[in-house]
C-alpha cells in the first residue's frame, strides 16, 4: 500500500479487476499474485480481464456473476458492452455511445 494501487480485486474469485485510474495500453498491473499487461487502455472504474475468459462464461465481480461473455476475452482486455451482456435485461445505450474498444472510450 505504498504506491497507488492501479487496480482493485473486489473478491478473490473475481475474473475481472477494476481500474482505479485511467490506465494506458501496455500498463502492467498486479492482482496480488501475478502481473497482467493491459491489451488496451482501460478508464477509471472500468473492468479488465484477470484471466483469459471463454465465450459464454460468467463474468465474476464482487464474487457474483454480473453477466456473460459474448465472445472470448483475452487476459488484460477491457471488459464492457462490446464483450459482456446482462443475463437479465439488455443494457440501455445512448445512440453514439462507444461500445467497442475501437472507438474513443476514455471519459
Amino acid at each position: 500500500m505504498t504506491a497507488a494501487a492501479p487496480v482493485l480485486l473486489l473478491a478473490p474469485e473475481d475474473n475481472v479487476l477494476i481500474a482505479v485510474a485511467d490506465l494506458p495500453i501496455g500498463h502492467r498491473v498486479s492482482d496480488g499474485q501475478r502481473e497482467i499487461v493491459l491489451r488496451e487502455a482501460v478508464p477509471l472504474g472500468h473492468k479488465l480481464a484477470r484471466h483469459p475468459i471463454l465465450a459464454g462464461a460468467k463474468i465474476i465481480k464482487y464474487g457474483a456473476a454480473i453477466g456473460s461473455a459474448t465472445r472470448a476475452i483475452a487476459e488484460g482486455e477491457w471488459v464492457h458492452l462490446h464483450n459482456l451482456a446482462s443475463d437479465y435485461l439488455a443494457t440501455p445505450v445512448l445512440e453514439g455511445s462507444p461500445v467497442s474498444p475501437d472507438e474513443d472510450h476514455v471519459a
Binding site: 482493485l8 464492457h80 446482462s86 443494457t91
Partner: protein
C-alpha cells in the same frame, strides 16, 4: 458505550425530545415550538397528509417509540384524520413523557406555541436526569443506504460498509440493508445467503415485486450514464449497492416498522404491496432513512460518491464518502474518507474497521458531521403494505 434503557427493553444512543405534527397544517406551530432549541435535543418530525393511512399511523407510532426518543409532544390542527388519541396512548404506554396539543382547541397559533414551548421547557430537565446504562455492541441496530452514488460508490464505500457490517454483526448487532428496486439481479445471490429455503423464496418474490413496481412506473434503475462510469449490466450496478450488505447470512426480511429479532443481517422491503398507488416508493433518500429508523436503527451508514449532505431526525447518520475528490470538496460533511482506497492509501478492511469503530464512538455520544451541522431531515409520505409472512422472520417462528 452507554444508552438509555426504555420500558420495552431496547436502549437508545440518543435521548431526543420529538415534536411531531400530525398534518401539514400543524407544521408551522410544531416548528416554532422546536426551533428554539438548536442543540439537537429537540427535533421535528411529522406527517403532512390529511387523509388516513395505516402505514403513516404505524410509522409515527414506531418513530415516537424509537429507543433514541425520550419524550414526545404531538401537535394536531384538530380536523385532520390522523388518529392522534391512539398515537398519544401508544407513546404514553411506552413509558415516555408525552403530550398532545390541538391547535383548534388551544386558542390558535400563538397560544399553542406558548403552551408547547412551556411543555418542552419542563420536559428537558426530566430527560436530562434520565440515567444511562451500559450498552453492548450486540444491542445495536445499524441501517445502511446509498445516495448520490457515482462510479466509485460500488468500489470503495459500499464494500467497506459491507466489511463494517460483517464486524458489527459478528459482535451480535443487527444490520439492515434495503432498496429491493436497486437489488434486481442480486436475488439469486441473496437467496443463497438466506437462513432458510422459505426465506430465500420470500426474498426472490420481493425483488420480483420491486421489478414489477418499477416497470409499471416506467422507471429503471440503470441509467445510460452508468455505462460511462464502467458499469456494463443491471446486475453489476445492483451488486455495487448490494456490497453494503457484507457477507453475513441473511436472517430475515423486514417491512417498514418491523423490528429485527435479535442480531444478524436483515433485508428491508421498501416497495409497497398491491397495485401501484401514491407514486414512487421513496421520493428521496430520507424516506428510506426514516423507514430504517422505524425498524429500530440506532445509526445509519450512508454511502455517497457525488456527496450527499443529509442527516436525519432521531438517529445519527454517518457519511461514508466513496470518491476522494468529493471528500476534498465537502470535508465538513463527510465522516469517513473511503475514497483513499482508490489512491492506495488504505484497503477495504482498514476502512471497514474504521467505520465499525466510528459506529461505537457515535453510539457513545460522539456527534456525526451531519449532527454537528444541525441536519435533521425527515420525510414521511403515503404507502401501503400487507404484513410480512411468517417465513420472513424464521427466528420469530422458532
Amino acid at each position: 458505550m452507554r444508552g438509555w434503557l426504555r420500558q420495552d427493553g431496547r436502549k437508545g444512543i440518543r435521548n431526543v425530545l420529538v415534536v411531531a405534527y400530525l398534518v401539514e397544517c400543524a407544521h408551522h406551530v410544531a416548528r416554532a415550538i422546536a426551533e428554539r432549541h438548536d442543540g439537537g435535543d429537540v427535533q421535528l418530525i411529522g406527517f403532512p397528509g390529511c387523509y388516513p393511512n395505516d402505514y403513516a399511523q404505524m410509522m409515527m407510532e414506531r418513530l415516537c417509540c424509537h429507543p433514541n426518543v425520550g419524550a414526545v409532544l404531538l401537535v394536531s390542527l384538530g380536523c385532520e384524520s390522523f388518529a392522534r388519541g391512539r398515537l398519544l396512548e401508544v407513546v404514553r404506554a411506552s413509558g415516555r413523557p408525552a403530550s398532545l396539543l390541538v391547535i383548534q382547541e388551544a386558542g390558535g397559533t400563538r397560544s399553542t406555541i406558548e403552551r408547547g414551548r412551556a411543555w418542552v421547557q419542563a420536559a428537558l430537565p426530566v430527560l436530562a436526569a434520565m440515567p444511562t446504562t451500559d450498552l453492548a455492541p450486540g444491542e445495536l441496530v445499524v441501517g445502511t443506504i446509498c445516495g448520490g452514488s457515482d462510479g466509485t460508490s460500488g468500489l470503495t464505500a459500499n464494500p467497506a460498509i459491507g466489511r463494517a457490517f460483517d464486524r458489527l454483526i459478528a459482535a451480535g448487532a443487527a444490520g439492515i440493508f434495503e432498496e429491493t428496486g436497486e437489488l434486481i439481479g442480486c436475488e439469486g445471490h441473496m437467496a443463497s445467503r438466506a437462513a432458510t429455503p422459505e426465506l430465500a423464496a420470500e426474498i426472490v418474490a420481493t425483488v420480483e415485486k420491486a421489478a414489477r413496481y418499477y416497470t409499471t412506473l416506467g422507471h429503471g434503475s440503470f441509467a445510460v450514464g452508468n455505462a460511462d462510469g464502467g458499469l456494463t449490466t443491471q446486475e453489476e450496478k445492483s451488486m455495487g449497492a448490494y456490497a453494503k450488505s457484507g457477507a453475513s447470512p441473511i436472517v430475515g426480511l423486514l417491512k417498514p416498522g418491523d423490528q429485527p429479532v435479535g442480531g444478524g443481517l436483515y433485508l428491508l422491503d421498501v416497495v409497497p404491496d398491491g397495485e401501484v398507488r401514491f407514486g414512487f416508493p421513496n421520493i428521496s433518500d430520507n424516506a428510506e432513512i426514516v423507514e430504517l429508523i422505524a425498524c429500530g436503527a440506532h445509526v445509519i451508514l450512508f454511502s455517497t460518491g457525488r456527496g450527499s449532505v443529509v442527516g436525519s431526525a432521531i438517529s445519527p447518520v454517518i457519511k461514508v464518502c466513496a470518491n476522494p475528490d468529493t471528500y476534498r470538496r465537502l470535508p465538513d460533511d463527510m465522516d469517513i474518507d473511503a475514497g483513499r482506497i482508490l489512491e492506495g492509501r488504505a484497503d477495504l478492511d482498514t476502512v471497514g474497521a474504521e467505520i465499525a469503530g466510528l459506529v461505537e464512538a457515535v453510539a457513545s455520544g460522539e456527534p456525526t458531521c451531519s449532527e454537528a451541522l444541525g441536519h435533521q431531515e425527515f420525510i414521511l409520505t403515503y404507502k401501503s403494505f400487507t404484513p410480512a409472512g411468517p417465513a420472513c422472520l424464521p427466528a420469530r417462528a422458532r
